[in-house]
Amino acid sequence: MVEPLQLQSAAWALTTTLELALFVQLVRRKLHRISPLFFAYLMSVIFQSAAEAVLYRNTNLDKMSFWRIAWGMQAIVLFMRSLALLELSRNILSRYAGIWALARRLFLGVAAAVIAYDLALSQGDWKWLIQNGVRGLELAMAAVIVTVVIFARYYWVPINQFQRALAVGFCLYSSFYVINYSLFEKVFQQYAVLWNFLGMIAFIASLLLWISAAHSYAAYEEVAVPPTIPSELYGKLSSEVNTRLLLLNRQLIQFLRLEDRSQ
């Protein structure tokens, strides 16, 4: 029977191989120029894998130092992922100035609310503050990605295959992290190996998705920048359209009310 630690080592090796494969694909398809922050994020992940391998071999290191270094690297990766996510959101929506401005405000609100809620769960216990903070950040990232995709769908903003794959990969990984961490929170120590292994599986799925999207990426998927109208004209037309919508809605409600009264 395969030992859990052997399984984890195999998953680790596979993750590193896939990270390198994605690195090659991004360079080959010149996607590192289109998404430089995503590329930087990947580099940080590769660096993290290499550094962790060195750390595990160094048996002289005490537990506390190891913990600090590991979380320090995790913080860097998390920061790079946040930047990659911002880059993805900007790449999808920034061509549309008005929507992008509105979306940015909404993202900030969503992210702040989610992180605040999660941090509140720590109830001032500093031991859980960092880990709950990471979970809050992961959940906020997932929420922002979903908001971007919903925004794009509502306003018919096109999302190319590569962007779509990035969004799905980020969201799945972050959501899985939250579920995984929340379920294992109380039994964290006993099931640390399983917890790490499941996290790796989620990341492997995201890597496979990104590699596939990078492999099939076509430059012609890029869309043209739409024309713009003056803000003043938008303001007038927008409020008039709202008036018409409001009247139509009122018409229906009156129809309904009168019918109810007559029943």
């Binding site: 100035a97 769960l121 919903i150 899985f176 009264r261």
Partner: protein, 190 residues
């Protein structure tokens, strides 16, 4: 596991579900190339509400009862209910068209008014719910009611208001086009 943590897990699952929903292919043809001015000038079904209400009035078919044509009266009322259902479909299409216009405008605008976008979103939810409710009531058999005269009057008022609103749109559009030749050019897709 405490309730707040369960809520977090549920929220994460909800996010995955929402992502899957948002990435699925659209149910109807998207209209990013929609011409705003053409769409605004299209005929409005809402202005015909008074005719539809008139057709649903019991007095319109009541005389058949007097002449002993009960079966015919029922058939006529059923057919008119079907027409009312079709009218509701058209009303919904008109509403959706207006929403489409607002989206096209938002995409082209350098500044989007968040409150108006939110207002539209709320309206679209309310409209969809009311429309669905009314459709089901009509399908189940709309009972004739006495307040139709009043309703017809109100419908006429609303139609007048709609006309005034549309005129204002046309005026502001023309003014906007005059102020900015570029804006007009862009809206024409040139």
């Amino acid at each position: 596991m405490s309730l707040p943590v369960i809520l977090l897990v549920l929220f994460a699952l909800l996010l995955v579900g929402l992502l899957a929903w948002a990435l699925r292919p659209p149910a109807h043809q998207t209209r990013p190339e929609l011409d705003v001015f053409d769409a605004l000038q299209q005929s409005r079904h809402s202005s015909r509400m008074s005719h539809v209400l008139q057709a649903l009035q019991p007095e319109d078919t009541e005389y058949l009862r007097g002449s002993g044509e009960l079966a015919l009266m029922r058939t006529l009322r059923r057919q008119r209910r079907l027409i009312a259902l079709q009218y509701l479909d058209q009303l919904q299409k008109e509403f959706e068209m207006l929403l489409d216009i607002s989206r096209v405008l938002a995409v082209m605008s350098p500044e989007v008014i968040g409150i108006e976008e939110m207002e539209r979103w709320k309206l679209s939810l309310a409209f969809a719910a009311t429309c669905a409710f009314l459709r089901w009531k009509l399908r189940l058999g709309l009972r004739p009611f006495s307040g139709f005269t009043l309703l017809a009057k109100m419908a006429a008022d609303i139609a007048r208001q709609l006309d005034a609103a549309t005129t204002r749109i046309a005026e502001s559009t023309v003014r906007g086009s005059e102020h900015s030749a570029l804006g007009h050019k862009n809206l024409d897709g040139q």
